[in-house]
Amino acid sequence: MSCILETRGLYKEFGAVTAAKDVNVRISKGEVVGVIGSNGAGKTTFINMVTGYLKPSRGEILFNGQSIIGRTPRAITRAGMARSFQVAQLFPELTVLDNLLIALAAAESPFPSLLRPLRNDGRIARAEAILSEFSILTWRDSKVTAVPQGVRKLIDIAMALIGDPQMLLLDEPTSGVSAEEKTQLMDTVMQVVSRHQVTVLFVEHDMDVVRRYVSRILAFYSGEVLADGPPQTVLANARVQELVTGGQRAHKGATA
């Protein structure tokens, strides 16, 4: 399978702190990759660099074989890489439907129409379809502020997905959601995502969730990729167990 995303020798320094250190990753089309790591391990930094929010200090990022270093998040999104956020990034004073319609209109054209209405039958049909896929159509006309946290996470993902991206980056899709809801939420998300045949990379803390859905795991520690491979291999890795999944937060002896 062809490679969709590749990073070569990616570094990111914030003053004295190194948030990314020689990150080399290749992701193929259609893969579902889980990213794990403790807080501050560099997971979100990685996503932020790949989506153009942060500029790497050094290194190269290729999307579909083209360098996207220095491109804006907007350009990268238009190239086909969408993302969701750790804290759902929505338009709180608007309705759920409008949130999706805006996402759709944005995906359709970089120059929004001045006089043609946002709401047209075609767009509404697509928005409703995706809301049904996520089983949240009942919230269609509610303001986002009136919607529970779990649903917001789904809207966030639906907005990323409605523009038909080739690759979807999900930053902790289950954070802020209660433990009982997590599995159900991830089930929904992964079902929809697989139906849309999009390459997925997601960040997750819960190992059970990760194990359930991914074909491959990237384990981050202190800005470095500690291990990369199928779940059983990575999770069996002694250093991953010590530094990531074991819950030990010991920093001594860390490979700095």
């Binding site: 989506t51 804006t72 998040p73 907007r74 999104t77 238009r78 969408a82 993302r83 956020f85 990034q89 929505l90 338009f91 709180p92 004073e93 608007l94 409008d98 319609l101 805006i102 996402a103 209109a105 944005a106 995906a107 054209s109 970089p110 120059f111 929004p112 129409s113 001045l114 006089l115 043609r116 209405p117 946002l118 709401r119 907005m159 990323a160 523009g163």
Partner: protein
């Protein structure tokens, strides 16, 4: 072009209003003309408010529109009303295309302050121009319409009918703009700019377009103001004038395209009676009104009407 219900109501009200101009007292006709001219500037403020930006310098474009009309009459001997207004709008749009490049980099208080600075620079330049009458300004020449000039004493009424018609068309256009993708995108930027960027849309481009369009609309108001009052002065660009537009914008709220118009009319009525009844403390009345609106009607006067409509709906549902 199909019109929806709101648009039909707007056009209908405009027709009634224009007709009632024939029987209304002349002072009221004039007051409404001025209020409608102002409401156009307020529309420009509201357009930006919907995108989350509060401008304390919309007087800049108001003034450009007014001076373009006045100067074209004096120096180019143009008296045709549409041409005059068009010159004003074009001048404002040209300036906005330039300033917009800078302005769209700023948000919140910085946007407010920078917009204020630019309008004050224009104010300073006009004050320094004796050829344009400095602070005294100058009188605007009488207008004609496609070669027809109104009979003596009929100009205010004729202008009223014209401004009502233009306001109605503008309201329909702005109504559509508010519901268009671009209009929705403005609200989205106000709500969450980062997300808009991550949807592949350029917030700066949307804001730029919105800024330029708002400038054009405001300049139209300035042009009408110049024709109606027959006089222009640099006060139009002074920050207190811009503050008044923000005041009216808040008074109406951003919920509906008719809100700025109703607010502008109400403001004019309240002010003219406040000046007459309490000539020494009308500012205080305005201040208290403004505070009361912020405290009790944070979404503007419009929330009063829509709130009632909602209550009425609830009663209907129960029955």
């Amino acid at each position: 072009m199909r019109l929806d219900k709101t648009e039909l109501i707007l056009l209908g009200v405009a027709a009634v209003l224009a007709a009632s101009g024939l029987i209304a007292p002349q002072w009221l006709v004039f007051l409404l003309t001025m209020a409608l001219a102002k409401s156009m500037v307020v529309q420009g403020v509201v357009m930006q408010m919907r995108a989350g930006l509060v401008t304390f310098g919309q007087g800049l474009y108001f003034c450009i529109g007014g001076y373009a009309v006045g100067m074209s009459g004096h120096f180019l001997n143009i008296s045709d009303l549409p041409t005059l207004l068009l010159i004003g709008v074009v001048a404002a749009v040209a300036l906005a295309m330039l300033l917009g490049l800078l302005m769209t980099r700023y948000r919140e208080i910085f946007f407010a302050m920078l917009s204020l600075a630019f309008s004050m620079i224009l104010y300073g330049m006009l004050v320094k121009s004796p050829a344009l009458g400095s602070t005294d300004g100058f009188n605007v020449k009488a207008w004609t319409l496609f070669g027809w000039s109104p009979a003596a004493g009929q100009a205010p009424l004729a202008l009223f009918v014209i401004i009502v018609a233009v306001s109605a068309v503008l309201a329909v256009l702005l109504h559509r703009y508010g519901r268009s993708s671009a209009g929705a995108m403005c609200e989205a930027i106000r709500e969450n700019e980062v997300r808009v960027e991550y949807l592949g849309q350029s917030p700066r481009w949307v804001l730029y377009m919105n800024y330029v369009a708002a400038a054009g609309v405001s300049a139209l108001g300035g042009g009408f103001m110049a024709l109606a009052a027959g006089h222009i002065d640099p006060e139009m660009a002074y920050w207190i004038t811009s503050g008044e537009f923000v005041f009216i914008a808040l008074l109406g709220g951003t919920a509906h395209v008719a809100a700025p118009i109703i607010a502008a009319v109400l403001f004019a009525v309240v002010r003219t009676y406040a000046i007459e009844l309490v000539p020494h403390s009308w500012q205080m009345i305005l201040g208290i009104t403004l505070l009361a609106i912020i405290v009790f009607l944070p979404k503007g006067l419009w929330s009063l009407f829509s709130g009632q409509a909602r209550a009425a709906k609830a009663v209907e549902a129960k029955a």
